[in-house]
Amino acid sequence: MTPLLQTRGLVQRYVTGKSLFGEADTVRAVDGIDLSVREGEILGIVGESGSGKSTLGRMLLGLEVPHQGEVLWQGRPMPSPRTAAWRELRAQMQLIFQDPLAALDRRMTIGAQIAEPLEIHDIDRANAADRVAELMDRVGLRPDQARSYPHELSGGQRQRVVIARALASRPRFLVCDEPVSALDVSIQAQVVNLLRDLQERDGLTMVFISHDLKVVRNICDRVAVMYLGRVVEEALSDRIFSDPRHPYTQALVSSIPKVGQGLEGRIILPGEPPNPACRPSGCAFHPRCRAAVTACAATEPALEHHDGRLAACLCLSEREAA
């Protein structure tokens, strides 16, 4: 079966620090990503700031043109941005951001904002009011709230508005970029449940980008862990959290503070995530890795199958060869 969405060797680079004389630096924010998202599945993208996860999300939607590689939608290349074919496709794929207040227009009522995509994509224009009511009901907003303005709603309700608006064009695919990070714990659970309903009831396919590993573990079927623009481990959600194999994933999973556990037994990584502009040689993680050997500084590990998962680590490959 063709995956709904697929990326092949996706690379994005930005040019920074351009000065009159010196060489301009190029930063490879995303550095060769092959992923596929099956219909109806939620794929989690996990990583620290600067790992390239948001850039990847934007390229999946065609909001950014990749420097190299391609994004395939149902096996066919994505049309170039701002063309008619791209606009048509964009109705089927939507983006949900972290900060709902920034994503909403403060001077428009909630109802008008949810109706806006219907106008843009020319869908159901005759029944717009009914459709807005239906969408609001689906995300758990009261009908009378259609006349409210964003500042009159709470953070959780605003995020529901953003989700309702994203659903207006009947998309098949959503990219959720840190959708619950700005919300309080009790509200976070409400929104996570809503997204789960959308997957279960309507078969929506999602890419869920987050640094909150507990939420990712709960909602995602499959998870890809990114480090400095590359995927270092990819596996089913249950497997990757119960038995992480890449040393970076292991440190990430162990860093989650668990209720009633204290600070013992955690892997504390030394140093900071490196600057993408000066990527370490070989395996980019080796300067912080507790399992690193000499070869790690020289050889770039490939993403390979290991025991029911994909992982990019020389030590894993060697252990299996031995």
Partner: protein
């Protein structure tokens, strides 16, 4: 006698009460967690205690430090305490540092103000502090600007500045919230180590129950400007008694359990301008009845040594069952 003692602390912004009488004691050297959602008053409590709220805030009640009253004290008296005896660090380190001054100068300012150190002595002490909070090659990097450090390192620099006055109490307001997971782990570790080394007390304000449980001795849970429950960490996390505390625990996805639907607390935090009658949590509470919507529960001592403000706290047998 407690080192810091807060009694009936109330705060109102433009006539709207947001803090409804907080009682809190901090002993020397202990670490207390302050837990709750945005707007519950956990930060306001300490901003009020240290006189850091804007002029439109009306603060009443009492905050004493070793018996010395801070509320209504002269500006000079409060400034002697702030930074020197009680220091505070915030969520977003990059907005707390001055971008146009070198970090050494910013730490030096604290050292001059609180300890009278200047020149070479101040510089040596600043390097020692940076070293202590884990900034590599501190002697070289002391002359860099904040933007030359990462977010995690800026938080370390903030902690170094807070330590400059050798405080007896450090208020850490969501110190790890803006940081990445692996850096969060480093900072929690650092705070625990510093507390151990310096013997200072710590108030750890956070909405992250896991982080609170890993470094605090006891915790206080706040909702809508009131304390609803407090207990030793172990007791609180094994068997929360207030339905709100229990709801907070249930809302967090469990790493080891089935990937099931989460159990959110329905509804939202009330608007301080329109607080519900009776218990402020009653509209969202599954255990509430008509009485809860009329009367306000007081914080009452419990057999487990903690205190709970609830007419119908979750009884022990049910709690054991839930945790079995």
């Amino acid at each position: 006698m407690a080192f810091v003692s807060i009694r009936d602390l109330r705060v109102a912004f433009s006539g709207v009460p947001v803090l409804h009488g907080i009682d809190l004691d901090i002993a020397r050297g202990e670490a207390v967690g302050l837990v709750g959602e945005s707007g519950c008053g956990k930060s306001v409590t300490w901003l009020a205690a240290l006189g850091l709220l804007p002029g439109k805030a009306r603060v009443t009640g009492s905050v004493t430090l070793d018996g010395e009253e801070l509320i209504g004290a002269s500006r000079r008296a409060v400034e002697k305490v702030r930074g020197a005896r009680i220091a505070m660090i915030f969520q977003d380190p990059s907005s707390s540092l001055n971008p146009v001054h070198r970090i050494g100068r910013q730490i030096g300012e604290s050292l001059a103000l609180h300890r009278g150190l200047r020149g070479a002595a101040a510089r040596a002490e600043a390097i020692r502090l940076l070293d202590m909070v884990g900034i590599p090659s501190a002697a070289k990097r002391i002359d860099l600007y904040p933007h030359e450090f990462s977010g995690g390192q800026c938080q370390r620099i903030m902690i170094a500045m807070a330590l400059a006055g050798q405080p007896d109490l450090l208020i850490a307001d969501e110190p790890t919230t803006a940081l990445d997971a692996t850096i969060q782990a480093q900072i929690l570790d650092l705070l625990a180590r510093l507390r151990h080394e310096t013997g200072m007390a710590m108030v750890f304000i956070s909405h992250d129950l896991g982080a609170v449980s890993s470094i605090c001795d006891r915790a206080t849970v706040m909702y809508a400007g009131r304390i609803v429950e407090r207990a030793e960490i172990g007791a609180l996390f094994r068997a929360p008694m207030h339905p709100y505390t229990r709801g907070l625990f249930d809302a967090i996805p469990d790493l080891d359990a089935e990937r099931a639907r989460l159990a959110p607390i329905e509804g939202t935090v009330p608007d301080p301008k329109a607080l519900p009658a009776g218990c402020a949590f009653s509209p969202r509470c599954v255990r509430a009845n008509g009485f809860c919507r009329m009367e306000e529960p007081d914080l009452k001592p419990q057999p487990n040594g903690g205190e709970v403000a609830c007419f119908y706290p979750i009884p022990a047998p049910q709690r054991e069952e839930a945790f079995a």
